[in-house]
């Protein structure tokens, strides 16, 4: 009788279902996975070390590039850490803007996730639908910051600038006639808030549309139900947070339990799964999008009625306005110091965490009082979830590996840092 050996398969790093640069060494017995060893670090850029050599403000754009699918949430944790070290207050309007954009980011992230997850599992249509809606939201990013992805919009002390009064419009060209672009411009007549208001009233219907495509779809359920079950006990042992933990039935959400900014003033629910399989995590994320939309709506209503400053007036932290800078000596000095040496953050250490679309995203900074961080540690949710990969895929079929990677929602920008 011939000797039987397990088959070792190299999955990735150029596999389209590996969500970036995941290389996984799989040990297979027939088609059953016996062991999975993820090799990560192919996208390692040493963000934490780079941040030690840059001034505090210069590291903000690096944060966007961590989890490049939920950019503003990363900035949020970083800015919040600095604000807590400096013990400064953020103006209330900036807090609402941050919450609003955090939720926009959550919808952006989950839309991409449902699209790509669908694509991996065989539901081709989802990605086309999801990117249609993402387009509107990245336009909102562009309207406030000028960049569609890497916004660098949150700054220590507030946000870079107030919401714009008008939206960019599509223009007639030799490829698109005036009649063709008219429907595109319909919602863009007013301010950014009008545009988002229009989006948030359209969005629940669109979500229903996605759900008719997937939720009761026989193939979708066959691929997801009972795949990658994580019990609540194991989820805690493996440090799960966010939708992964809630999918396992633990109602834990930092926005509710340890509210930051104005999350204690908005009304929303947190969905919880039952069995902890991939299908539950799918349902949790779909419901989270609905809840995010609710928060978005509340923020729009508040922001319409309450104008005010969006940046701290403490010029040791936030740059003064151009006008003041050009007419007053004091402001000129502040501006010069901020733009050359940068702000100084008092000695101390702080861990600030936000409920990132993927889980708990934390920034641990140690400051020794210099104009640069002494040590910056990023706590990436995806890294923790991926470390449970071996446990989750053992005993499953090779094809289920793709489902489980998809349901973990990994992005390599934050895992490799």
């Amino acid at each position: 009788m011939p000797e039987l050996r397990n088959f070792t398969l190299n999955f990735g790093p150029q596999h389209p279902a590996a969500h970036g640069v995941l290389r996984m060494v799989l040990e297979l017995d027939g088609e059953v996975v016996m062991r999975a060893d993820p090799h990560i670090g192919l996208l390692h850029r040493a963000t934490e070390k780079l941040a030690e050599t840059k001034t505090w403000i210069q590291s903000v754009p690096y944060m966007d590039r961590l989890d490049y699918m939920s950019m503003m949430c990363n900035e949020h944790a970083y800015c919040m850490a600095i604000e807590r070290l400096l013990q400064i207050e953020v103006p209330i309007r900036a807090q609402y803007i941050r919450v609003m954009f955090d939720e926009i980011t959550r919808i952006l992230n989950h839309l991409l996730w449902v699209g790509c997850h669908g694509l991996d599992v065989g539901a081709m249509t989802m990605v086309l639908y999801a990117f249609r809606e993402r387009e509107d939201l990245v336009d909102a990013y562009e309207a406030v910051s000028g960049a569609r992805m890497h916004a660098a919009y949150y700054r220590p002390g507030g946000v870079y600038r107030d919401l714009p009064d008008r939206m960019a419009q599509y223009k007639e060209s030799k490829w698109k006639s005036a009649a063709q672009i008219k429907p595109f411009n319909e919602a863009r007549g007013g301010s950014l808030l009008d545009f988002l208001d229009d989006f948030s009233s359209r969005f629940p219907k669109l979500l229903d549309e996605y759900e008719t495509l997937l939720t009761d779809n026989r193939i979708w359920k066959q691929r997801l139900v009972d795949v990658g079950i994580v019990t609540p006990e194991r989820a805690l042992q493996r440090g799960f947070t966010g939708p992964m933990l809630r999918g396992s039935g633990i109602a834990w959400d930092l926005r509710k339990k340890q509210p930051y900014e104005v999350y204690d003033r908005v009304d929303f629910d947190i969905p919880v799964g039952k069995t902890g399989d991939s299908y539950d995590r799918y349902l949790v994320r779909m419901e989270e999008m609905r809840q995010s939309n609710r928060i978005l709506k509340q923020c729009i209503d508040w922001l319409r009625q309450n104008p005010g400053p969006v940046m701290s007036d403490n010029h040791k932290v936030a740059a003064p306005s151009r006008e003041a800078m050009k007419s007053n000596m004091e402001e000129l000095i502040h501006h010069f110091k901020l733009c050359t040496e940068g702000m100084h953050v008092p000695e101390g250490e702080v861990y600030s965490a936000v409920e990132h679309p993927k889980g708990e995203f934390g920034i641990y900074v140690i400051s020794d009082g210099a104009n640069k961080p002494y040590r910056l540690k990023i706590r990436p949710p995806g890294y923790v979830h991926l470390s449970a990969m071996n446990e989750m895929v053992c005993g499953h079929m090779l094809a289920d590996v793709v489902t489980i990677i998809g349901s973990q929602d990994v992005v390599f920008g934050e895992i490799d840092r």
């Binding site: 934390g362 009082g369 210099a370």
Partner: protein, 202 residues
């Protein structure tokens, strides 16, 4: 965390850990305890299993190199493993710092048996700082390249590294060579007096 929670937490910690806590600091709404490497594992076990504390989750574990702290020569030990714990039932957080006793061969007991999630965090701290975790079953490098030499996040490791990679057309393969760039610091690192960035001072 509110000041009442902070007080309750520090009180419970003192009650259950006793003199195993070398220092307990409350600052900026967070509690930090420092423990000796010898007590570390037992303390972590207590923190998880004691119902009055119940830290079910290890949120983060990282290495820190204190050698150039505040641009001044350092008297204390160099490497520390810093963990962040969270309790789902009690809704509080804690930071635990454990200095490695030996600077030349930093070593801190592994907590993978207490929280399985420590697996990759400890591999990362080993990879980047060279802190060894006895008790870890699979302490391999994780983030750096295959065959990487050195521990890049130590303060004496240059930001540009030691080697660079390029394609060599003569040998028709990718080769490593010493770096050809020099580290350049645009803004120097400056530590001012303690009150410099103070808001009350503004």
């Amino acid at each position: 965390m509110s000041s009442a929670t902070l007080e309750a937490l520090s009180h419970t910690l003192q009650e259950h850990l006793g003199d195993r806590v070398k220092s307990l600091k409350v600052a900026l709404g967070e509690v930090t305890v420092e423990v000796d490497a010898a007590d570390y594992l037992a303390v972590m076990q207590t923190l998880r299993d004691e119902p009055a504390l119940s830290f079910e989750e290890l949120i983060d574990l990282c290495g820190v190199d204190y050698s150039t702290y505040a641009n001044a020569p350092r008297a204390g030990r160099r490497f520390a493993a810093v963990s962040h714990l969270i309790s789902i039932t009690r809704n509080w957080r804690l930071r635990v710092r454990c200095f490695a006793p030996d600077d030349d061969f930093p070593s801190v007991p592994s907590v993978t048996g207490v929280w399985n999630v420590a697996d990759w965090f400890e591999r990362e701290a080993f990879d980047l700082f060279g802190i060894v975790f006895p008790g870890h079953l699979d302490l391999r490098r994780i983030l750096t390249d295959y065959g990487f030499i050195g521990h890049p996040f130590r303060k004496d490791f240059p930001i540009s590294g030691y080697v660079e990679m390029r394609y060599d057309p003569d040998q028709q393969r990718v080769i490593y060579q010493p770096v050809t760039i020099e580290p350049r610091e645009v803004t120097p690192r400056i530590v001012r007096e303690a009150t410099y960035g103070n808001v009350e001072n503004a």
